[in-house]
């Protein structure tokens, strides 16, 4: 009986592993297959400014810019905030409160992104408009701020785990050497956890790149690069918001549909590169104690 159960267990584990691999490969293949017509007809015109399906023009530069800009803003806000919060929950907060605070923060990750989008439309976007005296609060910055809130939990939890998993003797030894508490954090703990923290940030980056709903509602959805380009308080477009807005109305099998697949493929490549990057980086980070 035991042997039998063991076999079932093994089969189950193997099957689910292969299923995951197969799905990933299929998504990759199908996206590439569907985007092939657009890639072959449009070619390098993909890297131009104009997107006009009616005239078969599919330039993705403005979306690429928007995606990178929004993600950069989100990371700029969320990384320092997230790491400092994690240092607080892991090192300063008494252990019995840590779990409560941590689960509250992790709850943030469970809120559906459409809710963030609605809050953004109702509150954040008017605030931005009044604060900067803009005619519309739907800007790259607004989307970036919302995204920052959305990726904070990822950064906080993973960084907190990284710090918390450092064996107690490092802290005790540092203390024994006469370091102040903030020196222990700054000189001992953070350098040890550095690579894991970087991993957390890269994971958050992946989520920021792929987030659709909240960004789509807030970014303004216009295929333009701001003038001048660093004026991020203007509306723009991201790859995901373009997909979210147009995929339903493009006819299946048309060049338009294929072009949308192509930008999806582009996004997937971006995310995959980052994920592989993260894993290589993290593997190097495993300490040999």
């Amino acid at each position: 009986m035991l042997v039998f159960q063991n076999k079932i267990g093994k089969g189950y584990v193997l099957a689910s592993t292969y299923l995951c691999i197969a799905v990933t490969l299929l998504i990759f293949l199908i996206l590439f297959w569907n985007s092939y017509p657009a890639l072959s007809t449009v070619g390098f015109d993909l890297f131009t400014m104009t997107w006009n399906p009616a005239k078969d023009q599919f330039g993705v530069l403005s979306m690429l810019f928007g995606t990178l800009a929004v993600t950069a803003i989100a990371l700029l806000i969320a990384v320092p905030l997230g790491i400092l919060t994690a240092i607080f929950t892991s090192e300063i907060l008494p252990n019995r409160y840590r779990l409560y605070v941590k689960s509250a923060i992790e709850l943030l990750a469970g809120i559906p992104s459409i809710i963030y989008g609605l809050i953004g439309i109702a509150l954040v976007s008017p605030w931005i408009a009044t604060l900067f005296e803009l005619s519309s609060g739907r800007t790259l910055v607004t989307a970036g701020i919302l995204l920052a809130v959305m990726i904070l939990p990822t950064i906080i939890t993973l960084t907190d785990d990284a710090l918390h998993n450092i064996p107690q003797q490092y802290r005790e030894t540092s203390k024994g050497l006469g370091l102040y508490p903030f020196e222990i954090i700054q000189k001992t703990l953070v350098p040890i956890a550095k690579r894991n923290i970087a991993g957390a940030v890269l994971l958050a980056l992946g989520r920021a790149l792929g987030e659709t709903m909240a960004v789509m509602l807030l970014v303004g959805s216009i295929d333009k690069i701001p003038e001048p380009f660093y004026n991020l308080l203007s509306p723009g477009q991201t790859i995901t918001s373009k997909l979210g807005r147009e995929v339903g109305e493009s006819a299946f099998g048309s060049l338009h549909f294929s072009a949308l697949n192509a930008i999806g493929f582009l996004l997937l490549l971006l995310v995959i590169t980052l994920t592989i990057g993260t894993q290589v980086y993290m593997r190097k980070g495993i300490r040999t104690v």
Binding site: P126, S135, R138, A251
Partner: protein, 277 residues
């Protein structure tokens, strides 16, 4: 543990069962949506065994999903384009006009109160082309115009751009935001005090004011129901349901219901013009 798995699989299998054959799926234009969702509710009360599922998405979604035969009825508020017809050679689109509507240029109420109550089509075209960018140039307050455009396949945009810029797929160089459904546009207009947008006549209210069109002969045409009925207002259109071939069964009786006096009453209550007069 095993039991839970078994129950889970059974539930999964049950939930995958096909929807009943007489389910009518409707999707598309958010201009037609308010009429159809009310009509569907009334219809389901009259025919308790029927099921009608109504979704939004925009005219483009309506045409595509009927074309790919995912739904029975598409709601559209524009003509089907040549490209769309070519895309689905196996689908024989049949259209059923259920009402009339006007596409109205709208401004934030602050502007309306400051005196922007009518514009010529040429002025509106210049704003969308980006040649006029401040309300000062139109005797309004000194504020940059927030030009709100719509997604390319939206029916309201097709009808509007056809008349204003001369091409239903024209690119609006002066646009600042691109939004989708009527309600999304409404929100953006309400939140701004310097916006110009495009809305269906039925979506106007105190915060989003439809402006009149100043005609070349000097007359001012307001977006009123009479002006839509007698075709005086320059930007009008039919609200249309589209099916694949001649409708049958539940689909047919539902469309008949909308055409009936009771159905047309719903059209009127939503601020559109009934086709039966």
């Amino acid at each position: 543990m095993k039991n839970i798995l078994v129950i889970g699989f059974v539930l999964l299998a049950l939930s995958c069962s096909k929807p009943k054959n007489d389910t009518v799926r409707v999707a598309g234009s958010t201009t037609v949506l308010p009429v159809i969702s009310v009509a569907a509710e009334r219809y389901m009360k009259l025919h308790p065994d029927s099921r009608i599922i109504v979704n939004a998405g925009g005219s483009g979604v309506g045409v595509n999903q009927v074309g790919s035969q995912q739904i029975e009825i598409g709601m559209i508020s524009r003509d089907i384009t040549q490209k769309e017809l070519e895309q689905y050679p196996e689908t024989s689109f049949q259209i059923h006009a259920i009402g009339r509507d006007a596409v109205v240029p709208v401004v934030s109420s602050e502007l309306y109160n400051a005196g922007i109550t009518s514009l010529t089509l040429e002025q509106i075209a210049k704003i969308y082309r980006g040649e006029i960018s401040n309300w000062k140039e139109l005797n309004g307050p000194d504020k940059d115009i927030l030009v709100i455009d719509k997604e390319a396949s939206r029916g309201t945009r097709h009808v509007f751009m056809e008349i204003v810029l001369g091409d239903k797929e024209a690119v609006a160089q002066g646009a600042d935001l691109v939004l989708g459904a009527n309600n999304e546009e409404q929100t953006a207009l309400t939140q701004s005090d310097a916006a110009l947008g495009i809305l269906s006549n039925a979506w106007l209210n105190d915060d989003v004011k439809g402006i009149s069109i100043l005609m070349p002969d000097g007359s001012i045409v307001e977006p009123t129901l009479e002006n839509i009925i007698n075709n005086k207002f320059p930007i009008t259109r039919d609200l249309v349901l589209v099916t694949n071939g001649t409708p049958t069964g539940q689909t047919k009786t539902f469309i008949d219901f909308i055409m009936s006096p009771e159905g047309q009453e719903i059209v009127k209550q939503n601020g559109y013009v009934s086709i039966s007069k």
